[in-house]
């Protein structure tokens, strides 16, 4: 099998359906089958219901409505023949060996020769699953363990056996990597594989220790959260998300399959409070509440459970002195003479020791363990990276002082670090105490790696510029949340001059959680508060100039967003020659939320796209109406595929599914464009003028009457309508790009002087939420 073209997923539960959706998101057709519900009229009801439900689920499993159409639904009694042309068959049915094996026997009779069959099991070993099945089946069988939700969680644990054909494993790995965008982590055939083996141990330790030491859930989550680069849900918040009722099952399965000497057993102690909560339906967010809840009877009061009494009480803000005292110094946190210091040490020393113990057991090396926790549990750093931060010798010394066991790899690491840079290359320590060079797979280029071995070619307080090879520069935002400010605009202008002289192309890219959340509102508000109108107008003009310089520079500019690209961040995409977007890109012009309009060319660029590329009726209004709708409602694309539908991405732009491959793909695109690059011709516009403005005003008025638009929405939409309709123009005239820029500038200045706009900005800065004034 050279390529996976079509996939089948059997089992349309949350995981199976989610996997099918992600396969469809990759553009591959997928068959989704489940059982025939007893007595059902519609024999495909389960699979069909799963697709229908996913179309309504938020966050959405599908990246576009078109993707949903790639799913063919059916049932395993009537439709097994649909497996005949599938290259990969994923089993995601209930965790029962007998049921899985019976299904495999059926699959074996229908599947194409050489197709891969995999199980999404999280608990049953591969060896058990293939027991008693023909050799031909065992040869093609692996475990592919996805994380929930499959679209958003990047980890895919892959368990293979020596019976597998290495070519087939490579084909499957490539499909999961390139097409599904997953970080494929090879695991050994051990219980819980890597992420859940360690993750469950960590959660269980944190829970029992909180009971033991009497630490409140808010404090526990604050400690075992941000200080360690762990998501702020910490432990109890995460359990609420997973579902408390799931934990006894997972714990029981771990307890049954781990050897008696495994430290897990010591941590797997019953918790009467949790048992009671599950019995009473307090199973977490999906139930009546969990460790936290929103009490609707008490005016949506946020509450947390008291671990000692078992009663809900008002949720408090975690007040942990130890965190403040320690700052970024984890040793100081562990040494803090308080219950919190002891909690941090107990939970994390147990967890990190357990991680060290897994080297040679769940995985051969440290790398996959770190990667599994980063991608499967969203830890910023894996356990071994954390140990490097803490200091291995200090950590071991304290373990020894406490008379605790020290896993072999910690001994091997004495006087060393787990990771190091040697001759410009990243290396990792092995169990044998030697370093092995880590090679990124072909087509993976990370700015993080480049930073380890080089210095920026340009830099200021808000941005950096890096050489990424082959004559390409990478422009990186480094400001808070990658917000755009005068410094960025300034460095952009300098970068353009530099590329003109010495380079071939520019890529705009960064490795933050979000490409950019938009302009720095704090700066704008400050300037407005001191009536610095000239400064603001100057910055708007400067931004327009810089973005236009990017667009018309004599070299190609490729933007490579991932995460949010909002407002000014979206406008930079719109001015690039091409966009190479990560599939999880959330782009949109959201300025109206703070009472403004896109002032750095967003209006004119979207209008140009819709006038030339939109599949819409002719005439001066349709493009204007479409762009007006997007901007006036602050519509954000919920995926790169949706951004394509909104024409933020144009036909020549492309989507990268795997986050690791984004920069390399963007660079390749930039080099390709550089081969025979010509800057674009400026667009011209035919716009409806005042008649069109009236039509848009009328539409807004109907929303006001319906209570869907506020008083200030109407003001902002009015200014937007004026810009998009070309102000005083007439459909017989042509409007230039510069005139559109001028209209944006004037509109922006009109709005930023409006007290209601300033109130919106202030509210957004204070609360992070839009003010509906």
């Amino acid at each position: 099998m050279a390529e996976i073209r079509k996939v089948a997923v059997i089992g349309a539960g949350v995981m199976g359906a989610g996997i099918a959706a992600q396969v469809a998101n990759s553009g591959a057709p997928v068959v989704l089958l489940d059982i025939v519900p007893p007595g059902a009229e519609n024999r495909n009801a389960i699979a069909e219901g799963a697709v229908a439900k996913m179309l309504k689920t938020e966050p959405a499993p599908f990246m576009s409505k078109a993707a949903a159409k790639l799913v063919t639904t059916g049932n395993i009694e009537d439709n097994l023949d649909l497996l005949a042309d599938c290259d990969w068959i994923v089993e995601a049915v209930i965790e029962r060996l007998d049921i899985k094996q019976a299904l495999y026997a059926k699959i074996e009779t229908r599947r194409k020769k050489g197709s891969v069959v995999s199980s999404n099991t999280s608990t049953i070993p591969l060896a058990k699953l293939t027991e008693g099945l023909p050799a031909s089946f065992a040869r093609d069988f692996v475990i592919t363990h996805f994380f929930n939700p499959p679209r958003y969680m990047r980890l895919l644990e892959l368990v293979t056996s020596e019976k597998n054909d290495p070519e087939a494993v490579k084909t499957l790995t490539d499909f999961c990597d390139y097409r599904l965008g997953k970080g494929v982590v090879p695991c050994k055939d051990r219980p819980g594989f890597i992420a859940n083996r360690l993750g469950v141990y960590w959660l269980q330790t944190a829970v029992v220790t909180a009971f033991d030491l009497g630490v409140d859930v808010e404090d526990a989550d604050a400690i075992i959260g941000k200080p360690f680069g762990i998501p702020k849900t910490g432990v109890f918040g995460l359990l609420d998300l997973i579902g408390l009722d799931l934990m006894p099952h997972i714990n029981a399965s771990m307890a049954a399959s781990l050897p008696p000497a495994d430290p897990f057993h010591a941590m797997n102690r019953p918790a009467p409070l949790i048992e009671r909560m599950i019995k009473d339906g307090f199973t977490g967010r999906k139930g009546k509440g969990g460790f936290y809840r929103v009490n609707r009877e008490m005016n949506k009061r946020r509450e947390a459970i008291d671990l000692a009494s078992g009663d809900y009480r008002v949720q408090k803000k975690a007040q942990v002195e130890a965190i403040k005292d320690a700052g970024k110094n984890l040793k100081k946190l562990f040494d803090h003479d308080s219950v919190f210091g002891r909690y941090a040490w107990t939970v994390m020393s147990e967890t990190l020791s357990y991680a060290a113990m897994l080297v040679g057991d769940a995985a051969d090396e440290i790398g996959p363990i770190d990667e599994a926790m980063r991608l499967g549990y969203n830890w910023k750093s894996g356990p071994f990276e954390l140990l490097d931060r803490i200091g291995i010798d200090w950590f071991v010394a304290r373990l020894e002082k406490e008379g605790r066991a020290v896993p072999p790899i910690l001994h091997a690491a004495h006087g060393k670090s787990f990771y190091r840079i040697e001759n410009g290359q990243r290396q990792a320590l092995t169990l044998a105490g030697e370093y092995r060079t880590l090679h990124r797979p072909e087509g993976v280029l990370l700015l993080a790696d480049i930073k380890l071995t080089s210095q920026p070619v340009l830099k200021n307080g808000s941005a950096c510029v890096w050489e990424i090879g082959d004559g390409v520069l990478c422009f990186e935002f480094t400001s808070m949340m990658n917000s755009l400010d005068a410094e960025i605009v300034l460095l952009l202008s300098q970068t353009i001059e530099l590329v003109k002289k010495h380079y071939k192309a520019l890529v705009v890219y960064n490795e933050g959680a979000n490409f950019s959340v938009g302009a720095n509102l704090g700066q704008a508000l400050f300037a407005a508060n001191i009536a610095g109108w000239n400064e603001i107008q100057g910055l708007v003009g400067l931004g327009q100039h810089a973005y236009k310089s990017l667009k018309y520079a004599p070299f190609p500019v490729v933007s490579a967003p991932a995460g949010m690209a909002l407002g000014g961040g979206c406008e930079i995409l719109l001015h690039s020659d091409a966009i190479q977007a990560h599939a999880e890109t959330y782009a949109g012009l959201v300025e109206v939320g703070v009472g403004l309009i896109p002032g750095w060319g967003g209006c004119k660029e979207m209008l140009a796209r819709w006038q030339t590329l939109g599949k819409i009726p002719k005439g001066p209004m349709p493009a204007v109406s479409q762009v007006f709708e997007y901007i006036s409602t602050a519509r954000v694309a919920k995926s790169a595929a949706e951004a394509q539908e909104m024409l933020i991405l144009r036909p020549g732009d492309a989507i990268t599914m795997n986050r690791y491959r984004l920069l390399a793909d963007a660079k390749a695109k930039a080099l390709k464009l550089a081969e025979d690059y010509k800057p674009p011709e400026p667009p011209t516009y035919v716009l409806p003028g005042p008649s069109g403005k009236v039509a848009l005003d009328m539409a807004v008025e109907s929303f006001v009457q319906l209570g869907k638009a506020t008083k200030h929405d109407k003001v902002v939409a009015g200014v937007l309508a004026e810009i998009l309709t070309g102000d005083g123009t007439d459909p017989t005239e042509t409007v230039t790009e510069d005139r559109m820029s001028e209209l944006e500038r004037l509109g922006f200045m009109k709005l930023i002087r409006n007290p209601d706009t300033l109130a919106r900005i202030e509210h957004m800065l204070e609360t992070g939420k839009p003010l509906r004034n």
């Binding site: 009726p617 002719k618 005439g619 001066p620 209004m621 349709p622 409806p688 005042p690 008649s691 069109g692 403005k693 009236v694 039509a695 009328m698 109907s702 009457q705 319906l706 209570g707 869907k708 459909p731």
Partner: protein
Amino acid sequence: MTRTVIAAYARTPFTPAKRGELASVRPDDMAAQVIAALVGKSGVKPEDIEDLMLGCAFPEGEQGFNLARLVSLLAGLPKSLGGVTVNRFCGSSMTAVHMAAGAIACGAGEVFICAGVESMSRVPMTGFNPMPNPDLYAKMPAAYMGMGETAENVAAQWKISRREQEEFAFRSQQKTAAAQQAGKFVDEIIPITGRKGTVSRDGCLRPETTLEGLAELKPAFNAEGVVTAGTSSPLTDGASAVLVCSEDYASRHGFDILAAVRSMAVSGCEPSIMGIGPVGASRKALARAGLEAKDMDVVELNEAFSSQSIASMRELGLSETQVNLDGGAIALGHPLGATGARIVGKAAQLLKREKGRYALATQCIGGGQGIATILEAV
């Protein structure tokens, strides 16, 4: 003066815009099929037809060019007849009937097809390029006012409660469903064949409607308002046609005449309360006929909204026993350009069926107009 008669009536099924079965059918195809069928079933000689007068409220896109001429060619009618597209918004195809009656009266032809069509799926209300006159809008915004807002205005001015509107809508649904069940639409519906197969049944009806369900709907046009989707006619796709000819011609050819045109009228009103349009127009037509509302055995009053239907009936002194015997637009649907020919044809058909003497067909028109036609038994 030569008397004008309605000699035959046909329509497509009416289905909801965007989600209905006719959404995938081009409006010109829809109209052509219904007209070809009308010609066939009436037995009229195609070469005798003077003109095809086709009403359409948003004649652009697939409804653009001179739609009437193109539909005539699509329907396979002889090249010898004329074709004119008529626009008086919702009153378009009733206007076509009036134009034909006028022409017959002054000897400018004997046989006409008066039809109407609207695909609200494929050509949006307000069209693709709405460009109102800024000066007029500044001076008189109501000239462009949305229909929902006018329905709210009528409800407020005539003090029609939400509950009263819902009861009217509920009865409309019940009457229409009963008529459908009893097969009363079978004779008038021409099955339409499109890309996705043949459509032969009305699709807008909501026979499961309850008063409780209606009471739960959110206002559709104004957060504080009393008009909901349940008390408004739905956006609809459909076409309709009537064969209009001189009484002499019909008699000569042995047609089964449905009714004769007794009088006609149009009138204007305040655009902001356009729903009251039927009142002025009906009064004029009644006066011209020397009749009174109580003389009407059958009334077809287009139910654009419950509020304007109730207000118009109240002002004209009509009782619900006279009005919309087989149901109305709230349940059946209101494809703008097609409604006028439907209610004239329906009124004529009912007059004959109910063996009545006089019938009134009347409707309101966006922008502030009303139109009315009085028919009499032959």
